[in-house]
């Protein structure tokens, strides 16, 4: 809320909402609050020892790449969107987002201190500063976070960071988890994924509210920008992915996951998919690792899984937990 400096200073009143989504998302984020200390990462020590040296190096590098994105979103991305906020409540939600990004960045260091040697970790941080692809994607996003850049383009870049750029990294702990390795680390990563999903959804929602105020020409220009940026970022991600995952033969599998998440990022902005369904067939083991215990018994897929109807329960207002 840029005008706070020049006009009357206003206190935030959460009992007068201009946009109910602000409170809904604030509540969701605060209820979901967590810290890495809650996850028993040390249970993964025996599992870590079963990884081959190159698998360990890959894992540490992937996590430093993720740390870098969280660091940017904490220190630059979310604060840069605060002056663009339309409502004071939006600004408060962004401050929560900024802080949780710091928690995410901090939690990778908890994983490192639990599982890895200082030497391995220092090497990976150095790698993250020297890796051209990682630095290139950071530069593209930071370009849009500059104070003089367009606020709507800033939201586009931010949604792509939250809903697309993380996924070349998130793939790996989901993969290990599907093979019963580093399962506690995967639990922690799932908490991060859950938070990023709310962030991408909320920033994308605010972007769509912003679009409503613009004329057709400006809307078309922003859509062109969004598709060209996701294309550029995808190009970098494909190279980054190949460099990381060629060694264990998973590059194509990761790319399907990238396509799937690029489409979801575009949906958060209200846009249609870029990649066709055939390019987005994510390994079912990865999908199952993303949403474990979410039993699949739907009827239309005809996948052979039986559908089960729960026991009938009387529907009274007080039965519903809200």
């Amino acid at each position: 809320m840029r005008d706070m400096v020049t006009s009357v200073a206003k206190a935030i009143n959460w009992n007068r909402l201009e946009d109910e989504k602000d409170l809904e998302v604030w509540n969701r984020l605060t209820v979901n609050f967590w810290l890495p200390e809650k996850v028993p990462l040390s249970n993964d020590v025996p599992s870590w020892a079963t990884l081959r040296p190159e698998e360990r190096q890959l894992t540490i590098r992937v996590f430093t790449g993720l740390t870098l994105l969280d660091t940017l979103q904490n220190g630059v991305g979310a604060p840069a969107m605060m002056p663009d906020a339309i409502t004071p409540h939006e600004e408060a939600v962004l401050s929560n987002i900024a802080f949780m990004e710091a928690v995410h960045a901090r939690s990778y260091s908890s994983i490192f201190s639990t599982l890895c040697s200082t030497k391995e970790v220092d090497e990976a941080f150095r790698w993250s500063e020297e890796n051209p692809h990682l630095q290139h994607k950071a530069r593209l996003v930071l370009e849009e976070y500059r104070a003089d850049a367009d606020p709507m383009r800033r939201k586009i870049a931010s949604v792509f960071l939250e809903s697309f750029l993380f996924y070349s990294g998130f793939y790996l702990p989901m993969y290990w988890s599907s093979r019963a390795k580093l399962t506690n680390t995967a639990d922690l990563i799932r908490l991060i994924i859950r938070d990023e999903a709310v962030h991408g959804y909320y920033i994308g929602y605010k972007y769509q509210r912003g679009l409503e105020k613009l004329d057709e020409a400006k809307r078309a220009a922003l859509k062109d920008f969004a598709f060209s940026l996701i294309f550029d970022l995808y190009d970098i991600e494909a190279k980054y992915t190949a460099e990381l995952y060629d060694g264990i033969g998973l590059t194509e599998d990761v790319k399907a996951f990238l396509h799937y998440n690029a489409n979801k990022a575009l949906q958060n902005l209200g846009y249609e998919a870029l990649f066709p369904p055939a390019a987005c067939e994510v390994n079912p083991a990865i999908l199952a690792a993303l949403s474990p215990d979410s039993e699949n018994h739907d009827f239309f897929s005809g996948s052979g899984s039986s559908y089960v109807i729960g026991k009938a329960v009387a529907t009274e207002d007080e039965d519903w937990d809200f």
Partner: protein, 137 residues
């Protein structure tokens, strides 16, 4: 007569899915002071999920209000859930809650505004179901 009823919040993901589906559908209003749709016959509900990390609040309040009417509930034949796999175990949880409360099957689940594959499956699934139930979409 509409064979589909849906809820979509201001973010509009489910509304975009329903628009792409191209079938007649009634929207449950976002605001509590607006009138509820009155589906005249058997119908399917499409509902997104708003659960917190513990699964609380999965079913939107307006959908609860809609289902708290015995006549409307009597016509419910199944539920299609929307959500995001990134919410882990609570993915499309609202559909499972409604399935248990109202004793109807979870027909399908999709993410955000759905994909072409989701649209094709839901179209053919609904056609089959409505055929079975002698419904016209």
């Amino acid at each position: 007569m509409a064979g589909l009823v849906y809820f979509s919040s201001a973010s509009g993901n489910t509304a975009r899915f329903v628009a792409a589906l191209g079938l007649a559908a009634d929207r449950i209003p976002i605001r509590p002071d607006e009138p509820m749709p009155r589906p005249a016959a058997d119908h399917v509900l499409i509902c997104p999920t708003y659960a917190d990390g513990m699964g609380r609040g999965a079913v939107p309040k307006q959908v609860i209000r809609y289902l708290n009417d015995p006549d409307r509930r009597a016509g419910l034949r199944g539920v299609i859930g929307a959500g995001n796999r990134n919410f882990g175990a609570t993915f499309a949880l609202a559909a499972r809650v409604i399935s248990e409360k109202c004793h109807v099957p979870v027909l399908y689940r999709f993410e955000l505004a759905g994909t072409e594959t989701d649209l094709a499956r839901v179209r053919s699934g609904l056609a089959k179901l409505m055929g079975l139930e002698c419904l016209t979409p």
